[in-house]
């Protein structure tokens, strides 16, 4: 991979993060609700409010406020939560960690299920497997996350059957098996959505690859069907899967908000919802920025991985 390419990509992601920070800051500034009033309550006097405003830097111009905030962010200082009074960093980063755990487990489960099924559907195109897979994908993609979560809850978390707990979180470091037990339902829910997407993509990629001239040429060279499938077809069909997984991280981040809310999973999505409901501006900004940055970074890494693996993208 050329230095040029790498440089370009890095410049792009820096630009992206910059724009994202501007957007997050800009949108949330429109929030009605005075931070000072929130802190001191409705009955505060004008002087008290002015003093707090000054302390919080709210009297400066928007641009200055932004720069102030940005400077803080670059030092991992997202300010103080208006709700809890604690540094936002302390709240957000552990939450991010938990969300990442959820995400990684879900992606793992998705890869184990979606890829083989997608491949099978492509190989038995038009048959019952294919039909089943396509149908499941269609439905899975059309169900909003909260509906999937609800259905999962109703079936698997029914107190009558007592299979899985409906809510709650236990850190794996404390009690491994119980922690895992609590993780099953959220992971399952998130996985279902991911599986629906990826299964479809894998199937369609593989079907396309199987119809290329080079796969035909490989078959007509008399190579074993196994070699044609694994060495020629699958390699090329699965390469785009990297990109798809990266894109799914975005979906995941959006959907994870909902899933964490329903299962009361203390991840960054849930923190964000709580912050939104409490109009906790610094926390909202932090949560949104972190999530968006995570997405941008995962895309960035996917780009690099793809470029490293696909020889044709050397000279971008």
């Amino acid at each position: 991979m050329s230095i040029n390419y790498l440089l370009k990509r890095i410049l792009t992601i820096l630009f992206t993060l910059f724009v994202v920070s501007l957007l997050v800051f800009g949108i949330t500034q429109v929030l009605p609700g005075d931070a000072a009033v929130m802190l001191l309550g409705e009955n505060a006097t004008a002087e008290q409010l002015a003093a707090v405003r000054e302390r919080l830097g709210l009297d400066a111009s928007l641009a200055v406020q932004y720069l102030h905030w940005l400077a803080g962010v670059l030092h991992s200082d997202f300010g103080t939560s208006l709700r809890t009074g604690l540094p936002v960093t302390e709240m957000m980063f552990p939450a991010l960690g938990r969300s990442l755990l959820l995400a990684l487990l879900s992606i793992g489960l998705m890869l184990i299920i979606a890829i083989p099924l997608g491949i099978l559907a492509a190989l038995r195109r038009g048959g019952p497997t294919d039909l089943g897979v396509s149908l499941a994908s269609y439905v899975g993609v059309s169900l909003p996350e909260f509906v999937t979560a609800t259905l999962v809850l109703i079936t698997l978390a029914n107190p009558a059957f007592g299979l899985f707990p409906a809510t709650g979180y236990v850190p794996l470091s404390e009690e491994f098996w119980r922690g895992l037990h609590h993780l099953v339902l959220p992971v399952l829910t998130v996985s279902i959505i991911l599986i629906a997407h990826v299964m479809r993509m894998v199937r369609s990629e593989l079907v396309d690859v199987l119809h290329t001239d080079y796969v035909r040429a490989a078959r007509l060279k008399g190579l074993s069907p196994r070699r044609v499938l694994f060495r020629h077809a699958l390699r090329n069909a699965l390469l785009p899967t990297i990109t798809i997984v990266a894109l799914d991280v975005g979906y995941l981040l959006g959907g994870i908000i909902v899933v964490e809310e329903i299962f009361a999973f203390p991840g960054i999505g849930r923190e964000l919802i709580v912050a939104i409901n409490a109009r906790d501006l610094p926390a909202i900004q932090a949560g949104a920025l972190i999530m968006a940055a995570t997405y941008a970074l995962s895309n960035f890494m996917a780009d690099l991985a793809y470029a490293a693996l696909d020889k044709r993208i050397q000279y971008a």
């Binding site: 792009t12 630009f15 992206t16 993060l17 910059f18 724009v19 994202v20 957007l23 997050v24 949108i27 949330t28 500034q29 429109v30 929030l31 009605p32 269609y138 439905v139 993609v141 059309s142 169900l143 909003p144 996350e145 909260f146 509906v147 609800t150 259905l151 809850l153 109703i154 029914n158 107190p159 009558a160 409906a166 975005g250 979906y251 981040l253 959006g254 959907g255 908000i257 909902v258 809310e261 329903i262 964000l272 919802i273 939104i276 409901n277 909202i284 949104a288 999530m291 968006a292 940055a293 997405y295 941008a296 895309n299």
Partner: protein, 276 residues
């Protein structure tokens, strides 16, 4: 046009999609008139019921007929989702076409910015906007529209560029046609079809996102019978009467699937073949 309609109804996706969407639109227009019960009416003695011959889908915590409430909900969900999609498409199409038309540095600048904006996941973006503007149905559609716009910009631009590179556009330029003629008479008819297909598919996203926002309390507000809101309100009674959550959820899924199928069907129907 009738030719395209015929082709649309020729495929299974087209048939099913059209059917579902048609039924949904009918429901939205006629809504309560078709409902067996008044959606607002309480039946105190028949609360938390599952499906029965009297109440086909069951009742909620107030004894309201679920079927009637769902039918009423079509009135909220569908028009709102359509409006959000139109906003998003309109905004996206204008910017996308402009960018393609301008070309060069301006195009690059616009696209890089759009790419950066797309780093914010759609739901998150909509959430942020709704939070700032205030939680109600109208702001929710505005938020969804704005959140959808970047991807529509991308799509419109790529379609516009593809059309622009066709020889018939070059032939028009070589003839000395005015820019207006080229854009309106040569390009637009060929750009509209893929846009229509994409828009139709986006409606299904809009439906899902709107429902999600309402579910989170940031979209339609009570006493609306928007489906996402219905699910949210039913949360507390999840295990007492799960049907209260299931039916609205399935209704959302049905509409989303319907628009998806319709979009797929349209894609084939509106595609001009190169040679018979």
């Amino acid at each position: 046009m009738p030719d395209a309609l015929r082709r649309l109804l020729g495929t299974p996706q087209g048939q099913l999609g059209s059917l579902i969407v048609f039924a949904a639109v009918l429901l939205a227009i006629l809504g309560p008139a078709l409902a067996p019960y008044n959606p607002e009416q309480f039946h105190i003695t028949a609360r938390f019921q599952g499906p029965s011959s009297r109440f086909w889908l069951g009742t909620d915590q107030f004894g309201r007929d679920l079927l009637s409430r769902i039918m009423m909900g079509a009135r909220s969900t569908l028009p709102l989702a359509l409006l959000a999609t139109v906003i998003g498409t309109g905004l996206g199409a204008v910017i996308g076409t402009l960018s393609a038309f301008l070309g060069g540095r301006a195009d690059e600048a616009i696209m890089r910015t759009v790419d950066a904006v797309m780093a914010i996941p759609g739901l998150l973006f909509a959430l942020l906007i709704v939070t700032s503007l205030g939680a109600n149905a109208f702001n929710a559609i505005l938020a969804i529209g704005i959140a959808f716009a970047p991807s529509m910009v991308r799509i419109t631009r790529s379609v516009a560029l593809a059309v622009r590179s066709q020889d018939y556009v070059k032939a028009a330029i070589a003839r000395g046609e005015s820019s207006r003629f080229i854009v309106v008479r040569e390009m637009l008819p060929n750009v509209i079809a893929p846009i229509v297909v994409e828009t139709t598919i986006r409606v299904s996203f809009a439906v899902m996102t709107l429902a999600t926002l309402s579910f989170l309390g940031l979209g339609a507000q009570p006493p609306s019978s928007e489906w996402g809101l219905m699910v949210s309100e039913a949360r507390s009674y999840l295990f007492r009467n799960p049907w209260m959550m299931v039916w609205p959820g399935l209704a959302i899924a049905m509409i989303a699937v319907g628009f998806n199928l319709l979009g797929d069907g349209l894609r084939d129907a509106l595609n001009p073949r190169t040679s018979e």
